[in-house]
């Protein structure tokens, strides 16, 4: 199925995207221009550098250059006790910190065999889905900005602020909250959190409707998104692309459904999929995910079970403060955890979850000590970036900017 072609695009059909070779009869010859975009360019969503070969306005080749914000977090993680790795791991993909922590904690929990209480699993789901909405808000705002829609940015960041306030309520931090711990979460949600969250859940779907009204009746947005830079499902799978980009091409692959973790099997939600996999589908899929995330949070909040919010296994979780004054055992555990941390038996684990950008997998090798011997994050942005060249070759440079926006790369995650 090909999308309807607008009049503007029809005009462009007279222009051929074929490579022009020197023709002595007409005197037309093609010159290739190599243009450097970035690393400091607002349209690259971070410090991404693209070396683009242009023929006129048409992109012939793209070479992404990355590594400008490489901070060696994986190396740093090897120097720290397991539970002290969480704060640094969260700073990789700085828009989906709860997901980074979840992948890491899940991997450690697999290695140690720690049981996560049901309440903690639900609290994790609530925070992860809020984080997904927050990440999509940043994506929608900045992407619309790239397409020339200034006001979208303010509206999206308003919603994001509300979510950050909620994060601040539950953990004391707006970003990089260190809320997820091995075996559960740091603290239970405070009084008033539920009321504020319910208020947000009530307004969010109507706000998302309004975002759609603003964008989807906008001729410029439609012309720049519809039918631009599609890529087939087979090619995306070959390139390792997952997440909304793959779903936009019609493949309903979502780890929350196919391999549920953290009690995702308890919730009733749908996987939005696209049809042709163009930029418009990529936008639609992410936009539809906002509603699904709201639905998941509502169900998790309604069915939030009573019980502990972190494992009762004192070998892995800090004892509650009041126990320290009365229990010698608790004091010993506290001291051991804070000074050395817990030890993990030798082994390897790979724990994949569905982040806002695709499969986020955390690989950990433990060597029996209290520090991981290797932490590796399979970051979806890093892998998805490989698809840029294939999507944008032989299209206009303006479509490259739109595609980059719809690709939603986070450079902190790419460079780690």
């Amino acid at each position: 199925m090909t999308p309807e072609v607008s009049d503007y695009r029809k005009q462009e059909e007279s222009i051929t995207l074929e490579r022009l070779d020197h023709d002595p009869a007409t005197g037309i010859s093609s010159d290739l221009l190599t243009l450097n975009i970035g690393p400091h360019h607002p349209a690259t969503h971070g410090v991404l550098r693209l070396i683009v070969t242009l023929e006129g306005e048409i992109v012939r080749d793209i070479k992404p250059v990355i590594g400008y914000v490489h901070t060696g977090i994986e190396k740093t993680a090897e120097q720290k006790a397991y539970w002290k790795v969480i704060p640094v791991i969260e700073r990789m993909d700085y828009l989906s910190y709860y997901f980074n922590a979840m992948a890491y904690c899940g991997s450690v929990e697999t290695l140690t065999g720690v049981e996560v209480p049901k309440r903690a699993q639900y609290l994790r789901v609530i925070h992860m889905e809020l984080n997904r909405i927050m990440s999509h808000m940043v994506w929608l705002g900045t992407s619309a900005l790239d397409l020339g829609a200034m006001s979208m940015f303010w509206y999206c960041f308003r919603e994001r602020e509300t979510i950050l306030d909620l994060f601040e309520m539950s953990s004391g931090q707006r970003m990089h909250t260190r809320y997820f711990q091995v075996g559960g979460v740091m603290e239970d949600i405070p009084l008033g959190f539920e009321k504020k969250l319910r208020q947000f859940l009530k307004t969010m779907p109507s706000r998302a409707d309004k975002f759609a009204d603003l964008l989807e009746n906008n001729e410029i947005v439609l012309q720049r998104l519809r039918g631009t830079c599609p890529l087939s499902e087979e090619r995306l799978l070959d390139l390792g692309v997952t997440g909304p980009l793959l779903r936009a091409a019609g493949n309903p692959w979502d780890l929350r459904k196919t391999a549920p973790y953290s009690s995702y099997e308890d919730f009733n939600f749908k996987i939005p999929v696209g049809t042709v996999g163009d930029n418009y589908d990529r936008y639609r899929v992410r936009h539809a995910e906002l509603y699904e995330s709201v639905k998941i949070i509502e169900q998790a909040l309604d069915g939030l079970p009573e019980g502990p919010y972190i494992t009762e296994d004192r070998k892995y979780a800090l004892p509650p403060r009041h126990e320290l004054a009365t229990s010698m055992e608790a004091l010993i555990h506290h001291f051991k955890l804070v000074t050395e941390g817990f030890r993990v038996a030798e082994g390897e684990a790979y724990y994949p979850i569905e982040s806002p950008r695709g499969e986020l997998g955390c690989f950990i090798r433990s060597d029996g000590s209290s520090k991981p011997a290797r932490v590796h994050m399979r970051d979806p942005s890093f892998v998805n970036l490989q698809a840029t060249a294939e999507m944008c070759t032989d299209t206009y440079i303006a479509d490259l900017i739109a595609t980059l926006a719809m690709l939603d790369p986070v450079l902190g995650g790419i460079d780690r």
């Binding site: 590594g67 190396k75 120097q79 697999t110 065999g113 684990a349």
Partner: protein, 169 residues
């Protein structure tokens, strides 16, 4: 993940098609892993791809220092139809760190292979553009190796830019 019997069946199939390729199999804490010799990586991975593990979920390296052979490369393969994961591991020495590239099987192996080369110095033969990806082009050494020191690299500020070797000239 295949169960322990399923893993042995797959390992048996590999042994039939490539004798001597399988070094060991491990089924531990929800992870099925086959360790193979570095020479047999490409045929074994291609065979598993034919068998249904069509998606290369992740490709990463690790260092087993001080054990030998030190460097490891792990291929996390995924069968999307049955939602089944299997890990293929190979280990190479620092002296001869070569593994065949799987970029002809998955174009998406490009960035991960470059990352493993950058961080561990594993050379993927057949990779068309094996350059550093995260570290600067002129960087020396492979920082994720376990014997690579942490810290000790001078950072350029205005007060020490004159004394930083090779910076001002």
């Amino acid at each position: 993940m295949p169960d322990a019997t399923g893993l042995e069946l797959i390992a048996g199939e590999i042994r039939d098609s490539a004798p001597g390729a399988v070094i060991s199999t491990k089924h531990d804490r929800g992870r099925a892993e086959i360790e193979i010799t570095p020479e047999s990586v490409h045929p074994v991975v291609a065979m598993l791809k034919e068998r249904g593990y069509t998606f290369l979920a992740s490709l990463h390296g690790l260092d087993y220092w001080p054990d030998e052979p030190r460097l490891g490369v792990i291929y996390e393969l995924l069968d999307m139809k049955t939602v089944d994961r299997i890990s293929v591991k190979t280990r190479v020495t620092v002296e001869n760190p070569t593994v065949a590239s799987v970029i002809d099987l998955w174009s998406g192996a490009d960035h991960p292979e470059r990352e493993v080369f950058d961080m561990f110095g594993v050379v993927f033969e057949g990779h068309p553009d094996l350059r550093r990806i995260l570290m600067p082009e002129d960087y020396e050494g492979h920082p994720q190796r376990r014997d690579f020191p942490v810290g000790g690299e001078e950072v350029i500020f205005t007060y020490n830019e004159k004394t930083m070797p090779g910076w001002t000239e």
